[in-house]
Symmetry: C2
Subunit: 354 residues, 2 copies
Amino acid sequence: MEHNPILVVGGGPAGLEAARGAAELGYRVLLVDKAPRLGGNPILSQYAALTPHMENAEVAMGRMIDAVRGNPLIDVRTSTTVSAAGGAPPALSVTLKGPKGEEKVEAGAVIVCTGFQHFDPGRETQIYGYYEFDDVITLVDAERMLKAKNFVRPSTGQPPKRLCFIQCVGSRDRQIGNTWCSKVCCGIACKEAIEIREQVPGCQVFVFYIDMRTYGFWEDQIYWKAQEEHHVSFIRGIVTEITRRGDTVVVKGEDTTMGRPVEVAMDVVVLSVGMEPSEGTIQTAKVFGMPLESHGFIETVGGPLNTVETPKPGFFAAGAATGPADLEDSISSAGAAAMKAAVFLRKSRIATAA
Amino acid sequence: MEHNPILVVGGGPAGLEAARGAAELGYRVLLVDKAPRLGGNPILSQYAALTPHMENAEVAMGRMIDAVRGNPLIDVRTSTTVSAAGGAPPALSVTLKGPKGEEKVEAGAVIVCTGFQHFDPGRETQIYGYYEFDDVITLVDAERMLKAKNFVRPSTGQPPKRLCFIQCVGSRDRQIGNTWCSKVCCGIACKEAIEIREQVPGCQVFVFYIDMRTYGFWEDQIYWKAQEEHHVSFIRGIVTEITRRGDTVVVKGEDTTMGRPVEVAMDVVVLSVGMEPSEGTIQTAKVFGMPLESHGFIETVGGPLNTVETPKPGFFAAGAATGPADLEDSISSAGAAAMKAAVFLRKSRIATAA
């Protein structure tokens, strides 16, 4: 019954769930994260509340972290990366690089849960003025202020009176090379809009969008709720430029429903930045020799009927490492990956015994 | 190591994946389906190809069915329903009703994978004329014709020259009580539009939509592809009435991008019908005393961080039984449910031994 541990790379929602699942099935797990603490983006980027049920992100993630920390089958290594690998599962040699230097370990299977990184809106396009104007922020900056319960105009420190979200920044955009839809930004903008209306009651909130992709239950749970209970205004439009006039940021574009130009002054503009393959994803794929799919995320095999298996036997991936994912996607695929990694080890053992 | 089998209810994509996963982890599985054959909606409703990768649905589902049929740990019972239950997992008494009458079995855990049913567009609203006009069909009717490679106007048997899809039929609609977005209909309409353009090259294809919800990679894989490679026209609009004029079906409504009324004659109108809780879901929940969430699907606990656990210990749910789901959702959540059901049995055994 002895086996090498399942190596889980990344300790965000997917990695935590994969580690717990595999350990609860009775398998030893080695969970590594390059950050000094577990939790991934919801913790490191200081998310306020989770979409759609609005539970405090630190509390919700805290439960997952506690479950992992409390499981004796899981060996957690933070501030640690995978720097080299050789051989193949179920006897993969892996070099870990951590606070105490390098260490060689053996892994029975690998689950890559290296997540995504937020698009940097100043990197490839300047139309949004992210680095020019203090009052142009991102969804992530907004999360931090909402979490601190101190949502203000960065330039003045005062509560904003008019604020807008601009959707699809770094998504659905061939020019910058990100042709995919990042899936969650519409829902997260609705969630933040509700939180802003709650924390800054006098503030008018607008959302400029191409298509509101609040699929499934997000439709009534957060999109209708934002409109009907919190009076958030949704405007179908294309933003072409952000400039500054006096104290305010001016958003120029076209209202495509009314068919007329729009030019509105805002105290704060929130850019709904999308998901990109994280550096950790690219780096991990390189070390393990895992192929990337056409958008640059980890490739899986078998289309929609096989979501976590990669072309390399014994290597699995879950969550946003394989493409834009919401929390449900990450948790479900991580659970599936834990199952598949365990099955891989079972089959290896049977093959060895035969 | 002895345990009662894991009862999987429903043999569609989720049920097949849950059954295979649990069996590959070494657990005995009892898979029941009320239909005479396995495969769920993709097989019973004769889907042509799966979204987004366009693999033949019968081939793709055939692989899953073969894997289940070929696993000696899985006992498959078709034409069988669960008619009564008593006690609790890991020793749940279940009465099955099958071709040979009633049978009592014991189940260690339950995974409900009873899926969805397609919205019946003639049931609650007559504006679409589904039962009045032969040439008004649904996404499901279109699948059948595409699968048979005989896509025609039902009234004439001839290939159509102009066809449109109408999105959100039975979804995002408070009047009929379906407030959710059914998640997959935008992607499936794109997929069918591409297939129609391939099978009926001269046919103009239009899609009337509110928001195109082709999230993630569906954006470029099928939405852009439909527009750019297959010249499908997408029109943001609201359809208010379908009537008949001479040989054609007339679609009336408003083009909300151009801000003008639309009245167009079509040879075929395809209603993009959404997902509703299936009869099997409602019936199964009743027999097991499982609560439903506010939309009428199976309730799960723990928000986005716990996708398959229900409020009743030992009862899990996966796929569209818990809400609108695409194939990836169904396969991932089914894999996660297999893991969690196995963990439940492991913990029960440890508790019993202690």
